[in-house]
């Protein structure tokens, strides 16, 4: 099987799995327990936290382990909006966010926050001029993803934060689920306040992720109970999962530059190939993450292509896993005003460093055959 759907989820890295198994074997205690066993387990949890804080360049106490990207995004949006609501009620969200941000923001507006949407251009990149007009003195939160999961478009976060900082005291949250380990993610350079990471997208384990805050940024919890994670995330912490997350994060940033080059080479090659088909339109913009290539075959339903490719053991997806079970057209593609001829035929190839050139070559062969059968191309 050639798995080219790494934006939906990834295969667990053997070292991550080993870490999980080893920690689980020895340190399965409840880290809140006061016996030595609990203390030792807690120490491991704290060292996982430290490692991650070091990599992300923030302080330990600002790393909050969660059940994944969705929870982290919910925590960021609800938690920051509630914490800073005395400053204002204005929240800005891009139109192309993952549903875990969009639906949460809609909920915020139901309960009295003033939510406005930052539009994108035809490349799926937020329009900074419009952002500049939207930011107000009472804007308390701006959330824009780093890399879009459907198109791979990299958002101009540095420029965004300059605009936001110049005009407001708003906090900036960035969903880095698709960017972490694929392009550099840095609190300082990007000048942001909060970052979401999900482990299963970076060869870590499902059911784990984190929200990282910059020093001095505060937040309200969304889950209440035992007061774990400095009171911000109640629920017995799984130390094996937390340590496995730290491992996945470390692996994701090790050799990042080489990995970027590798992914870039594969995706450039693929793009060049796809552009040779007259009925194929590449949707991913020039400024895109190296692992995502989104394109569309004119007047052919995405599902038809997916099934045809799958019969040849190649796994790709429509623009996102979440939207693929719904018949609805993707909100991202709609926001980009993709024309009717193409909007239903969108396919996403998403790579990981585990993929190689032979697989891409095999994809090309199969794709050509499928196109031949379906389109007569």
């Amino acid at each position: 099987m050639i798995y080219l759907d790494n934006s939906a989820t990834t295969k667990v890295h053997p070292e991550v799995l080993n870490t999980f198994v080893a920690v689980n074997e020895k340190f399965w205690a409840n880290p809140a327990s006061i016996h030595t066993f609990g203390h030792q387990t807690n120490e491991l949890l704290q060292s996982a936290r430290e490692q991650i804080a070091d990599i992300l360049k923030t302080s330990n106490e600002k790393i909050f382990f969660t059940s994944g990207g969705t929870e982290s995004n919910n925590l960021a949006i609800f938690g920051l909006a509630h914490k800073y609501k005395q400053r204002g009620k204005h929240v800005l969200i891009s139109e192309i966010e993952h549903p875990s941000i969009i639906e949460t923001a809609k909920k915020l507006s139901e309960i009295g926050f003033d939510v406005e949407w930052i539009p994108v251009n035809s490349e799926g990149i937020i329009i900074l001029d419009t952002l500049e007009k939207l930011v107000r003195k009472d804007t308390i939160l701006v959330s824009v993803m780093h890399v879009n999961n459907e198109t791979g478009a990299i958002q101009p976060i540095e420029e965004l934060s300059k605009i936001v900082r110049a005009q407001s005291r708003a906090l900036i949250h960035m969903d880095a689920v698709q960017s972490f380990g694929k392009i550099p993610v840095d609190f300082k350079i990007l000048d942001i306040d909060a970052i979401t990471i999900s482990s299963h997208k970076i060869h870590g384990l499902k059911g784990s992720g984190l929200l990282a805050l910059k020093k001095f940024v505060e937040i309200e919890p969304i889950l209440y109970g035992g007061g774990q994670e400095s009171g911000i995330r109640s629920g017995t912490t799984s130390v094996p999962l937390a340590v496995a997350t730290a491992k996945a994060i470390r692996l994701a940033v090790t050799d990042l530059q080489n990995n970027i080059l590798k992914l870039q080479t594969l995706s450039d090659d693929l793009m060049v190939y796809l552009n040779t088909f007259p009925s194929v339109k590449v949707i991913s913009p020039a400024k895109k993450a190296p692992h995502i290539v989104t394109f569309s075959v004119q007047k052919v339903k995405g599902e038809v292509m997916i099934n045809a490719l799958q019969e040849q053991d190649i796994i790709v997806s429509t623009s996102s896993a979440c939207s693929s079970r719904q018949t609805k057209t993707s909100h991202v593609l709609k926001a980009m005003h993709i024309s009717d001829d193409y909007i239903k035929g969108v396919l996403r190839v998403s790579l990981s460093t585990l993929n190689n050139q032979q697989e891409i070559d095999q994809f090309k062969i199969v794709f050509k055959r499928v196109m031949n059968v379906i389109k007569g191309d």
């Binding site: 798995y3 006061i34 969705t70 035992g226 017995t236 799984s238």
Partner: protein, 376 residues
């Protein structure tokens, strides 16, 4: 020195078979169940099969099970989800003074948001009175949340009677079964339970997974928004390996059900008799009739829990003051305060021992002997 772990109510080790299933799933099935391709569908099938096992374990239908990240999320979901879905019908909630903080703190949060919460008291045995509940019920009561069994003293509440009382009242009946599940046989139909929380790591399953049973027809406000997973009830990519491993843990519990019960209760009795034989002065906290087989909370006169736990720890015994949750410091237990009042010695000299997988009679005998050396 091999340690003797008597803190299974705080968290329990994963069973070998569960670890095997968990790691195998992590290696093999890595599809996203929301994806329409084969790998995705394979993952979906795994989740569906696991869900059926979870549902059957409490006499529910698989559509009534929402997977969560654990007991805390399930409790929060039940409490917040009911409150915000039903706030137009009423703003009154009834719970007990001895709930886990996942319920209590959620209720306190609701109080800040204009809800009214009645916290039922318990008697010296740790039991609520059905009469109190009856008298507290109002027309605008939308939720009654009473834990199935308490995590600190193990006392089992009169769930069947509560269900009977509430079956003709519009309030939803939620029960936190995190400690009871796997030890008691639970039937949501005959007990008229509307909402029930379970956590996997207390029954030798993985941490970070649990479920909330929601009786068919109940529509709660979600607490996590996003993708349409879990029939739109709980967003977030499904944690497939953990769900499958959780179901495995449930199956193992079911296979050894009466066995495990009898076995852990037997350990508790051996432990108690040995303490008696060694003339260790102690008193059991909470009902001795309506109690979980594997939980024991005792008060030992003239000890101080903080010192005592350190001494136990040095002697190689892992036990706890009741709740693992208030990390670091030992605050007086809200459960014991509810049972005995603010200023009784029990608040400072009570310890919880909880028995489980891999414990043996030799271990509990050894533990009792070490305790007698510390105390006498």
């Amino acid at each position: 020195m091999t340690r003797i772990y008597l803190d299974h109510a705080a968290t329990s080790p994963m069973a070998e078979e569960v670890i095997e299933v968990y790691t195998a799933e992590m290696k093999e099935v890595f599809g996203n169940p929301s994806s329409i391709h084969q790998t995705g569908r394979k993952a979906r099938k795994k989740v569906d099969d696991a869900r059926t096992i979870l549902a059957k374990s409490i006499g529910a239908h698989e559509t009534e099970i929402t997977i969560t990240s654990g007991g805390t999320e399930a409790d929060n979901y039940a409490v917040f989800g009911t409150a915000y879905a039903r706030k137009n019908e009423g703003k009154h909630i009834i719970t007990t003074q001895i709930e886990h903080h996942a319920v209590l703190h959620a209720c306190e949060q609701l109080e800040k948001d204009g809800f009214e919460v009645t916290y039922l008291p318990v008697d010296k045995n740790g039991l609520i009175s059905i009469n109190d509940l009856k008298n507290s019920l109002r027309e605008d009561t939308i939720l009654v949340s009473v834990m199935y069994a308490n995590n600190e003293v193990g006392v089992i509440q009169p769930i069947v009677e509560i269900g009977e009382l509430l079956k003709d009242h519009p309030a939803y009946f939620h029960t936190d079964a995190v400690q009871a599940y796997g030890s008691l046989s639970i039937d949501v139909i005959t007990s008229h339970i509307d909402l029930l929380s379970v956590s996997s790591h207390k029954i030798n399953g993985p941490k970070g997974i649990g479920f909330l049973y929601q009786r068919k027809g109940i529509l709660l406000k979600p607490i996590f928004y996003g993708g349409q997973q879990e029939r739109k009830k709980r967003a977030g990519t499904e944690n497939v390996p953990a769900i499958v491993a959780f179901a495995k843990a449930v199956q193992l519990k079911q296979a050894t059900f009466t066995n495990g019960n009898v076995e852990y209760n037997q350990l508790k009795q051996v432990f108690l008799s040995e303490l008696e034989r060694l003339k260790v002065p102690f008193q059991v906290n909470g009902s001795q009739e309506s109690v979980l087989p594997h939980v024991l909370n005792i008060s030992i006169p003239n000890t101080d829990v903080e010192t005592f736990l350190v001494q136990l720890d040095l002697a190689g015994i892992d036990a706890s003051s009741g709740s693992a949750c208030t990390a670091g410091s030992i605050d007086p237990s809200h459960v014991l305060v509810a049972m005995y009042g603010e200023s009784t010695p029990e608040l400072r000299n009570s310890v919880r021992f909880s028995f489980g997988l891999n414990n043996t009679e030799e271990q509990v005998l050894e533990a009792a002997n070490k305790i007698s050396k510390i105390v006498l």
